[in-house]
Amino acid sequence: MYSPELIKGTLQTIVLSLLSENERMYGYEITQHVKDRTQGEIQLTEGALYPTLHKLEADGLLTTEKVSIGKRVRKYYRLTENGNKQANDKVNEFRRFSETMNDLLNSFTPNPELSWLS
């Protein structure tokens, strides 16, 4: 499992890219999707997704669609036109970032002299 700091910075990218693959999704569905697709490596804290969803909605990248399920309301999120564009940009940016990180860390070998520290 990855550290929460790493996930926090990429949460928007994850949500946007998931929604660009699936036309509309609700909160719980997104959480489960992330868990399943990453074999549990990325596990969102329960509810951690909603602040990001609301923020993306406020920024005009997502719209919601309310569907009643019995006595409760389910909110489906989908990308706006602008959100679709942002999804592409964010995914591309992250790809480049991870390539850069790969290059940077390829030459990394643990310093044997410091190994007694750990």
Binding site: G27, E46, G47, Y50, P51, K55, K71, R72, V73, K75
Partner: protein, 424 residues
Amino acid sequence: MELTEAQIELVSAYIKQNGVAQDELHDDLLDHVCTSIELRIQQGESFDEAFQYTIKLFGPGGLKQVQLETFELLTEMNETMKKLTFGFGLTSTFLLLAGTIFKLMHWPFASILITLGTGLLVLGYLPMILTHKLKESPRDEALLHITGFLGLTLTSIGVLFKVMHWPGAAVTLLGGMGILSFGYVPIYFFKRYKVSANKPVTLSSSIVATACLILIFALMKTGNSSWYEHGVLLTDETLTEELHRMSDSNDALYASMRSSNLSEMKSEADKLVTHIDALKLELMSWAANVPPNEATKISLSDLEKKHDMAVVHDLLLGADDQLREGLFSATELKGMMDHYRNTVLGEYPSELRSAMSSGLALRTDGTFRNAHGQEQDWIHHQFEYTPLFTAITNLTKWQLDIRQMENQVLLSKISRPEASNPPS
């Protein structure tokens, strides 16, 4: 399997109880928890087991934490607003700083810089900070931010008016500082002290804020420098007494002289002294905003605007940049004083005149140095930045000068009777 209405109600109540007040977020979380429970019930758990399990996933205080994070993300200033606020703040600080320096150095455009700086502060920076603060902080702190905003706005406007010598400065300034000291500081103290983790720090910052406000009040009071003012007003009284004595003495001297062809000098002296009396009355009536005939009843020490420089400036020099002429202008006064001085000089033998001239009072030619070492002509030196009570005292001093010059001539004529017929 779908949950029953009662079960949904239970989950909804639990979510609300745990601090989620926002409807949209409540709906999201309700659906989330219910979906999770339904799936677990399908796998054979009871409602209670599934409910407990799902809630546990949020962790203690987890529901409220979700709302808090949502709130933080939504109220975060966006980049444009951040840049705009920063820009407003920086520009107005720069303008005010430059304006103050220009003002101190008596350079041009100081007033424009200060006005623009305050305008930007009051119309740009402060409202942006207020809207951000109102959005960002809890509802019950709104009053704190509004009093702070109002207090700062009024204080800034008051300072601007004070510096520009515009009317209403004192009231605005007092209003602003009143709101700050009786509104903002107490509210800040009570709101923050209760929840503050470090009470000594909150306490001491409240005390420092109060002390600063008291200091500013005190400065405003001493800004009027009552003792200094009292001294100047006493000087004016002494000069006035002296003036009356000198007039009486001159009248006695005129009477003792059998033949006198000094009627021109006498009538000019009388005219000039009377003119200055009228000018003083006009200044008082401008400052008190009453007709001149009512201004006679007003004592200078009771006048609210006794330190006002704008009254002196506007009456004698004119309110705009162009030097005013005509009745009660400095130009007119200077002309009359110069004329009288020449008449007096004319009463002395011609060989004495140039020697007399340099020592004789009422000199208005040449340049004068002001407190900042700048050279000025007589008119600006006397009336550009002169508080009312100083201007009035100076005018009394010149009246005394007029009578003293007259007295000197009279004495010289009496001691040297042959001089009463000056060579033509």
